[in-house]
């Protein structure tokens, strides 16, 4: 299995706060990795460093042999990294289909002169855009209306559209920031199944997630962060048994005892 993404000693500091401090992990082809940790552990900051929204203050990010550390987000997306956001970042005033078309921007070129004169080539291009947008909405089993502004849709449906927009990018790596947040049980089961189908397309997935049931069932490896540092890495079983992880989530034994006495 070849390495798709290599993160080496990644660091970012905001003033004196080291939000990410020496994060290192590799993502292999067709692998699903979860990044977990308590709130404020630096998970989203790490994602933002990888995708270029923050400029790392140290370390490197290598995507399929290309060093993308500190590059512009658009250039990193062009190399093959797609992402979703922790709080939905959709184009609210645009239709569902247009939102998905955003993901296809780089894959499907089109000349503006063709657009002005409505040439047959333009019409073919637009038809292909529409068909592919439907394809990715079908892929995530989206059942809502597709021709209306996305702001009219429910939260769960918006999350589906955000994933299909990222899928339309057809990238080698997909970063999902809390994809299960706010979803009900059925929706989570669907997400689980969807992630596996995405993996089967040949896309590696890195997800930040707080739902431990989902993380344990889905991911092949887990990276655990706390206070910006990577405190554990391994299979779900290894991580579950790791004392440092238990401490990060539940605190030390002594503290628990003190609580009991109080």
């Amino acid at each position: 299995m070849s390495v798709v993404l290599g993160v080496n000693d990644l660091q970012i500091a905001f003033g004196g706060v080291k939000a990410v401090d020496g994060l290192t992990f590799d993502v292999h082809e067709k692998e699903i990795i979860a990044v977990i940790g308590p709130n404020g552990a630096g998970k989203t900051s790490a994602f933002n460093c990888i995708t270029g929204f923050y400029k790392p203050t140290g370390g490197s990010v290598v995507m399929e042999g290309t060093d993308i550390t500190g590059h512009r987000p658009a250039d990193i997306a062009a190399v093959g990294v797609a992402r979703t956001f922790q709080n939905l970042r959709l184009f609210n005033d645009l239709t569902v289909l247009d939102n998905v078309r955003a993901g296809m921007h780089l894959n499907r070129g089109q000349s503006w002169a063709d657009a002005i004169f409505h040439t047959p080539r333009f019409k073919r291009s637009e038809a292909a855009y529409t068909a592919e947008a439907h394809y990715w909405l079908d892929f995530v089993n989206f059942e809502g209306p597709r021709g209306v502004p996305i702001a009219n849709l429910s939260y769960g449906q918006q999350k589906q559209v955000e994933i299909s927009r990222a899928l339309a990018r057809k990238s080698k790596l997909l970063l999902l920031d809390e994809p299960a947040a706010g979803l009900n049980y059925t929706e989570k089961q669907n997400l689980l199944e969807l992630c596996r189908r995405i993996r089967d397309l040949g896309t590696s997935i890195v997800l930040i997630e707080h739902d431990m049931g989902l993380v344990m069932e889905l991911s092949e490896r887990i990276v655990v962060m706390n206070f910006g540092r990577e405190i554990a890495e391994g299979t779900p079983a290894e991580v579950k048994a790791n004392p440092a992880v238990i401490e990060a989530y539940l605190g030390k034994d002594e503290e628990v005892e003190i609580d009991d006495n109080a």
Partner: protein, 350 residues
């Protein structure tokens, strides 16, 4: 996750008349109907005064169509848009007088100069966001006017006069106001159509993505700076060509024409009409350019009335007279084949 709970998507109940009007407004032939109306208008009234007013209104529509690309599609507040019109008008005036050419043959020069102007103004300013961009464009608009006021080649404060006709074939030239009106209408119609079509293309979508959420657009691989620069350049070219028509219409231009108030009026046309909706913007431009003429009977109170009407319009229709209502057909068939196509092209891109 079913889509059955969206009341806002249920068709609104309306009477038969309202339904007909709404159908006509959404019709894809509306543009052609409007063009026909514009071409037939001189049959109703063809006095020099009314032709002058209608020609000016048509040029104003073209300006609004250009600014709509920048403000409406891409969401970049530009307070100095009239500078591009000045660049176009001065370039065509200077070149045509220097080489004794009809204005039509100055088009390549105008194209080059407006694109350059778009790049020069856009390249440094588009790195800024929102308020800062607005202030800097305001500054550039004034710089352009003051430069024209002080250069010898632009004729200083008195400007350029005796600008040649748009076209001359031997004895024939576009000099009758009626002929010039028709030529203007056709040119403006083309640019309005082109601007509307651009809005529904890959580039137009990229502009809207940038307007809606710059970070999300970047994450999808859209180079937001380049996309914004493209909007600026298209806006500049539209403004420049409006300037050529303007120079030809008045045969004289001076810096006093390109003051901030003009930029503000064009912006008002876009906002009043409905940002991003080409049809609304055309309506807005017509209102802004024709309303003061219709209010002429109020003599010195007409601008007061004009202002009041604009305030009332914005209070009752804050999103514009005719805002953009994004809507698409749900499905158009031919899925299985294209699904395969998508899967195949997916493999190729790897």
């Amino acid at each position: 996750m079913s889509g059955s709970t969206f009341k806002s998507q249920a068709p609104r109940r309306m009477g038969p008349v309202a339904a007909k009007v709404s159908g006509l407004l959404e019709s894809k032939y509306l543009g052609w109907i409007a063009l026909a109306a514009a071409l037939l208008a001189p049959l109703l009234t063809a006095s020099p005064y009314s032709l002058n007013v209608m020609t000016t209104a048509a040029i104003f529509v073209m300006l609004a169509a250009g600014l709509n690309i920048v403000v409406g599609y891409c969401g970049l507040l530009d307070l100095g848009y009239i500078a591009f019109m000045a660049v176009g008008a001065y370039t065509s005036g200077i070149v045509s007088r220097a080489f004794d050419l009809p204005l039509f043959f100055t088009i390549p020069a105008v194209l080059v100069m407006t694109i350059l102007a778009g790049l020069i103004i856009g390249a440094p300013t588009l790195r800024l966001r929102s308020d800062y961009l607005a202030i800097v464009t305001l500054g550039f608009g004034e710089i352009t006017r003051i430069t024209a006021n002080n250069l010898a080649v632009t004729g200083g404060p008195s400007g350029i006069y005796g600008i040649p006709k748009l076209l001359t074939f031997g004895d024939f030239s576009v000099h009758s106001p009626a002929v010039f009106y028709y030529v203007t209408i056709l040119i403006v119609a083309f640019f309005v159509l082109a601007s509307a079509r651009l809005g529904k293309s890959r580039l137009g979508r990229a502009w809207r993505f940038v307007r809606e959420d710059e970070d999300a657009a970047e994450a999808m691989g859209i180079h937001t700076y380049k996309v914004k620069l493209m909007a600026y350049i298209f806006g500049a070219v539209w403004g420049g060509f409006a300037g050529v028509l303007f120079a030809s219409h008045l045969t004289a231009i001076s810096p006093k024409t390109f003051i901030f108030l003009q930029s503000a009026l064009v912006l008002m046309a876009v906002v009043l009409g409905g940002m991003g909706n080409m049809r609304g913007v055309v309506v807005g431009a017509l209102v802004i350019s024709l309303l003061p003429e219709l209010l002429r009977d109020l003599s010195e109170y007409r601008y007061l009335a004009f202002g009041l009407l604009l305030v009332v319009a914005m209070v009752f229709r804050p999103k514009g007279l005719w805002p953009a209502r994004p809507h698409e057909d749900e499905r158009t068939g031919a899925e299985p084949q294209t699904a395969v196509d998508a899967a195949v092209s997916r493999g190729e891109s790897r």
